[in-house]
């Protein structure tokens, strides 16, 4: 029972494909196969080809083969990832104000059917579409299985579709582009029997996008000896509040860092 | 046997025990005490012994506490029986055994003072005591009842040892005293003064009057021997308890309890802690006073009864506070009322005998009605009492929630669950920062406020809500992520301090609240963890002494020759008919 030479290993193997190891000599021996997530042992007949089934080679990486009879001989071979079967695509953030530079980033990682990262360089196409307008289309070569992009947000609020594609595969994500800080906050007032009803004109950012409903606008009525405030949310583009004012007062509005115009009211008779 | 003879003969003890079984057996098998204040607490303790007999450290309450802070005997017996009948029925069986032992104990105790006939009436009367029904069905004070029953059984041996120097009595008395201590320490401590004191006194009287063979000095010296041996044994049997109490004396802010209130200033409290426990015995109080004072041998018992009676009145008199000092704020006083009724029973037995002698069937009917109405009123009070335990909450959904999806990696709290907190704790794997045993609390958020369980925080006013706020403030520290609310009272606080409702159970009866940024619970380091040797002692000695007492009682027979007190019949003009 002798093992004449080292086992003859395949020069290249692909995850999920069968492969064969040949040995020389005669008699019985034990074959050990150790790879990423795999360890097996079997009896073999020296001098015959040993068939490694696909289920033992599903994980990409380096595999070590040892054949032991009276002595052990070892060798290793590398199993590469198969063709991409899925694309993992991370896009950040999920929500972004318009007009912000380098605010959106995405990372794509191709994986084969056995969840091995495909490290062979390949071109991944990133496409950003806002409504019907194509904002960006860029082909990026993967480096060590990773391709990424960074870009600025657009000018229009709404859903930004981001697609990463390689060959027939694609992954789609959505980024909500939201209005930026309010711009040119303007208010108007109207006396009612009980109070002053103040409301903003439709609140928009500097790109003309309506500021999202729910955004707080703070109305302040400053009188000589005190003040009244109302934190009112924007609803259907407009924020409104009632303020009880009995003396001369200055009413103003603010949202975030933006101040609006002022209304000056005389004392109520 | 003529009817007249029937009224003048003692009732056989076996018949009395069967009456106790007939009265309390069905009530316990119906699991009536399941809704009491403390039943779930006892079952919770027992459930720990089921799984960790030799490890008294329990992580499920107060982020970890030692069960050596409470005598284990009744819980260990429940744990043993639970292997056959389950925890709840195990509790009921242990409670039933205690209830059956009580008339036996009352009979034996009464025999020290009165003849066999009066003693048998006393024992029969004890079956119907309002205080007993109160403790068993409303308070759920299993250990108090069990320990009192055992202690009453031990006292006649103590008397025999003092007066007859009987070695068998010494051995049995000591074994039963140790067992009583293993069931409940407080009963033993106060029993020494309130029960054993009068017995010692009457032994000295009997010795001086040469009614017994012993001399006064002999009786006293044997009492000292008895006390020393019992003391040493209790020190060993409850060793881990004493060590834990020495290591962590109870320094927490006093927790208010209604039994410490002045009964005259609150009618409902008066009904709860006086009218219901005493029942028809209130009518017998003048007789107890007069007859107890008229017979020299009964005077020690009368004085013991009076002192216990005064203690049972709680804050109605300042005496308990004066005598107990700081302990006054730790103790609850309904147990004193129970003991007072037990001490009154021998004299009440005399009253029953007098009435039966004089009025025969009419007296029998009257006494029977009084007894039945006393226990009936106590059972009715279970539903009429405005302080009754909150209605039973179905906690199955809470338990299921905590036991799934890794929720038990966090701690939880219940609010408005009353004694059902212990039920949740028994059946969930998750741990809580709350608990239903005041003396085991070491977390500063709880000990710095005069409030008991967090689940009942609102009943303790600002102190209770202060403790709850303190705990919620440190939710992240304790990994407290889930709160189950069964009382909308707590919802405003939870809302304002940053908790959100995440689920509802039982058609909205219970709501689950959560806080997002809470990390998983980690072990809270404590110096109260008992070492392994204490766990070994705790798992062997208490149950061991109870088995020893059982063995001695069964296999070491010894007849008791109680002195038949002279002049037990009052002169005809001194009948007191209530």
């Amino acid at each position: 029972m002798t093992l004449a030479q080292d086992p003859h290993l395949p020069t290249s193997a692909v995850a999920g494909d069968e492969t064969t190891i040949s040995t020389s000599g005669n008699g019985q021996a034990i074959l050990y196969l150790v790879g990423p997530g795999v360890a097996s042992k079997r009896e073999i007949s020296l001098g015959e080809d040993i068939h490694l089934p696909s289920r033992e080679l599903q994980n990409a990486g380096r595999y070590v083969v040892s054949v032991c009879s009276d002595a052990c001989r070892s060798g290793s071979f590398y199993v590469a990832a198969a063709e991409p079967a899925s694309l993992t695509f991370l896009v950040h953030p999920s929500r972004v104000p318009v007009g912000l530079s380098d605010a959106i980033s995405g990372v794509a990682l191709p994986f084969d059917p056995f969840h091995n990262l495909v490290r062979v360089p390949m071109a991944i196409t990133f496409q950003l579409t806002s409504g019907k307008t194509a904002m960006m289309s860029r082909s990026v070569q993967t480096q060590d299985g990773v391709a990424w992009f960074r870009t600025s947000s657009g000018k229009d609020a709404g859903v930004l579709h981001v697609v990463a594609a390689v060959d027939e595969l694609s992954a789609r994500r959505a980024v909500q582009q939201v209005a930026s800080e309010p711009c040119n906050l303007r208010i108007k007032g109207q006396r009612t029997p009980k109070a002053i009803l103040v409301e903003t004109e439709p609140v928009r950012d500097c790109s003309g996008n309506p500021v999202p409903d729910g955004t707080i606008v703070t109305f302040t009525a400053a009188e000589a000896d005190g003040k009244s405030t109302v934190d009112a949310p924007i609803k259907q583009g407009v924020a409104r509040a009632q303020i009880i004012v009995t003396k001369a007062a200055v009413i103003s509005a603010a949202s975030g860092v933006v101040m609006g115009n002022e209304l000056r009211l005389g004392a109520q008779p | 046997m003529s009817t007249a003879e029937g009224y003048s003969r003692p009732i056989p003890l076996l018949a009395i025990v069967l009456v106790a079984l007939a009265v309390h057996g069905p009530l316990l098998l119906m699991q009536l005490p399941a809704g009491s204040f403390d039943t779930n607490f006892h079952i919770f303790f027992a459930s720990h012994y089921v799984h960790h007999w030799f490890d008294p450290w329990n992580e499920k309450w107060f982020a970890g506490f030692s069960q050596t802070t409470y005598p284990p005997l009744t819980h260990q017996w429940i744990a043993l029986l639970s292997n056959v009948v389950g925890l709840k029925m195990g509790y009921m069986l242990v409670q039933l055994i205690a209830v059956l032992l009580l008339p036996v104990g009352v009979f034996r105790f009464a025999r020290i003072w009165v003849d066999e006939r009066a003693a048998s009436y006393a024992a029969l009367g004890s079956v119907f005591l309002g205080a007993l029904a109160f403790l068993v069905y409303q308070a759920g004070q299993l250990a108090t009842v069990a320990s009192a029953a055992l202690y009453l059984n031990a006292l006649p041996y103590f008397y025999e040892w003092m007066t007859e120097a009987s070695g068998r009595s010494l051995i049995k008395g000591i074994a039963i005293s140790w067992t009583a201590a293993a069931a409940h320490h407080v009963t033993l401590i106060f029993g020494l003064v309130l029960f054993a004191g009068p017995v010692l006194w009457v032994a000295c009287i009997d010795a001086r009057d040469e009614r017994v063979a012993a001399s006064t000095t002999g009786a006293l010296s044997r009492a000292i021997v008895f006390a020393i041996v019992v003391g040493l044994g209790v020190g060993a049997v409850l060793g881990p308890y004493w060590l834990s109490i020495l290591q962590h004396p109870i320094h927490q802010v006093p927790i208010p309890h209604d039994s410490r209130a002045n009964l005259l200033l609150n009618s409902i409290t008066a009904v709860n802690y006086f009218v219901i426990p005493y029942g028809a015995l209130i009518l017998a109080l003048p007789f107890i006073l007069m007859r107890g004072a008229s017979l020299r041998r009964l005077r020690p018992l009368l004085l013991g009864f009076w002192l216990t009676f005064i203690f049972g009145l709680g804050g109605t008199t300042p005496l308990p506070r004066w005598l107990l000092g700081r302990a006054y704020e730790i103790l609850t006083f309904e147990r004193f009322t129970f003991w007072a009724t037990l001490m009154a029973m021998p004299i009440v037995g005399l009253l029953a005998a007098d009435l039966l002698d004089r009025f025969r069937a009419k007296a029998a009917v009257g006494l029977s009605l009084a007894a039945v109405m006393t226990i009936g009123a106590a059972l009715t009070w279970l539903t009429a009492n405005p302080y009754r335990p909150a209605g039973s909450v179905n906690v199955d959904s809470v338990v299921a929630f905590l036991n799934r999806d890794g929720h038990d990696t966090y701690r939880y709290l219940t609010l408005g669950f009353g004694s059902e907190l212990a039920k949740v704790s028994t059946y969930t794997n998750a741990t809580s920062v709350d608990g239903d045993y005041n003396s085991a609390r070491l977390l500063p958020e709880m000990t710095h406020y005069g409030a008991a369980q967090l689940t009942n925080a609102k009943f303790y006013g600002s102190a209770g809500m202060g403790a709850l706020r303190g705990m919620l403030d440190h939710a992240n520290r304790y990994g407290l992520k889930y709160i189950f609310v069964h009382d909308a009272y707590y919802e405003p606080l939870l809302t304002f301090v940053g908790w959100r409702k995440v689920d509802t159970f039982n058609n909205g009866e219970i709501t689950a609240w959560s806080k997002d940024d809470v990390p998983p619970a980690h072990k809270i380091v404590s110096d109260a963890v008992p070492p392994a040797w204490q766990g070994l002692l705790w798992g062997t000695l208490p149950i061991g002494v109870s088995l020893l007492a059982l063995f001695l009682e069964l296999f070491l027979p010894g007849g008791r020759r109680m002195p038949v007190p002279v002049e037990i019949s009052a002169p005809a003009e001194e009948h007191y008919v209530a």
Partner: protein
């Protein structure tokens, strides 16, 4: 002995009971919510204004409404239902959850026929102890003093239709089976815009303001850890109820974190940590803060007071006011809060008051008030 001992025991018992009744040794307190009443003949006679008030408060604590109402003067301007509602609250307000725990009274003036007594009422509430100062007028009627209960002006809301543009955010969380890469929605972007650490009478306080910079509501908690010179954490606490936890887009909330019994001199560094999560929320109700003024109150304390105006069509059961106070440089020098014990009915207003420490009163130049709220069934 046959008679002497029973007589002695009865006498001692009666003596002990009398000692407890008349204050020797003081009987223990009862558990929070009391009920029942004293046995007949044991209620002290209302021979003084203070005793009349004490009797009234005892009955009110025990919710003996009939007895309490009977103790009022005939000149009182209330009927029994209004009196009960005034005391016990209505509409799920904080008062409906509260119990009177104690009180301190101080006579303001007294003649043989009438008296004025100022009472500081200590309430136990779900949100902690609340104090309320109230002046009572008493008159001498018959053989005792009676309390004159003022007429109760309950807010009335006329029948009306309030149009509401209902705005809320719902949250759909990704399932556990979602693959890597298809993540949930990002957490809201929240920022601490100011922080100040000061020493107070109770210890150290860290306070400031936090803003939701995002376009969605945020559930916010601010935590702080105090670090000593060696880099060891001394204590960590959270903003607890001194913050509005749900912040709408662009909303600013004050926060205050108390560190009881910690001396600021031992603190080298403060580590701040703001946690924001995405939650379902509603933009309603809108509560205006009218007529805000910083004035001294009757006791000379500096108090920010004003009126909360409910501008929505729903009842706000428990309003909570949080105010930040700024010095002349715009720095937050104090954050204080207070709960309003009356509910805010739709389109009505209720007064509020928030106290600031006497030592800071001189520094405060301006303030900002945020209103937080609890509405039954909407948490």
């Amino acid at each position: 002995m046959r008679f002497a001992l029973p007589i002695l025991l009865v006498a001692v018992t009666v003596g002990l009971i009398a000692a407890a009744l008349f204050g020797v040794g003081q009987a223990g307190g009862t558990v929070g919510i009391a009920a029942g009443s004293a046995l007949p003949g044991l209620t002290p006679n209302a021979g003084t204004p203070e005793q009349a008030l004490a009797n009234l408060f005892t009955d009110l604590q025990r919710r003996n409404w009939n007895r309490a109402f009977a103790a009022l003067s005939k000149t009182s301007g209330v009927d029994e239902p209004s009196f009960i509602q005034d005391w016990a609250g209505a509409n799920g307000s904080l008062r409906t959850f509260s119990n009177l725990e104690g009180y301190d009274s101080r006579p303001l003036h007294a003649t043989s026929d009438d008296a004025q007594v100022r009472v500081r009422l200590h309430w136990a509430t779900p949100v902690g102890p609340v104090e309320d100062v109230r002046d009572f007028h008493l008159t001498h009627e018959g053989d005792g003093w009676k309390v004159v209960w003022p007429k109760v002006e309950a807010p009335t809301v006329p029948a009306q239709v309030v149009p509401v543009t209902y705005l809320r955010w719902d949250l759909i969380s990704g399932g556990a089976e979602d693959g890597w890469g298809s993540r949930n929605v990002d957490s809201p972007h929240v920022r601490i815009i100011s922080m100040n650490a000061v020493e107070s009478a109770e210890g150290s306080v860290v306070m400031g303001e936090v803003v939701n910079e995002d376009t969605i509501p945020a559930f916010v908690n601010v935590n702080a850890a105090l670090v000593d010179g060696s880099g060891n954490a001394i204590d960590d606490e959270s903003s607890f109820d001194k913050i509005a936890h749900v912040l709408l887009p662009k909303q600013v909330s004050p926060y205050r974190i108390d560190f009881p019994n910690i001396n600021l001199k031992n603190v080298k560094n403060v580590r701040m940590d703001v946690k924001a999560t995405l939650v379902p929320a509603s933009a309603d109700p809108v509560i205006g803060v009218m007529d805000q003024k910083l004035d001294p109150d009757v006791q000379g304390k500096s108090v920010l007071h004003g009126e909360l105006l409910n501008q929505s069509g729903q009842t706000v059961n428990i309003p909570h006011v949080i105010a930040s106070f700024y010095d002349s440089n715009g720095k937050v020098v104090w954050v204080a809060d207070g709960y309003v014990d009356r509910s805010l009915l739709p389109q009505t207003s209720e007064p509020f008051a928030v106290e600031i420490p006497r030592t800071l009163a001189g520094k405060v130049q301006t303030f900002h008030v945020v209103v937080n709220q609890y509405s039954l069934g909407k948490s």
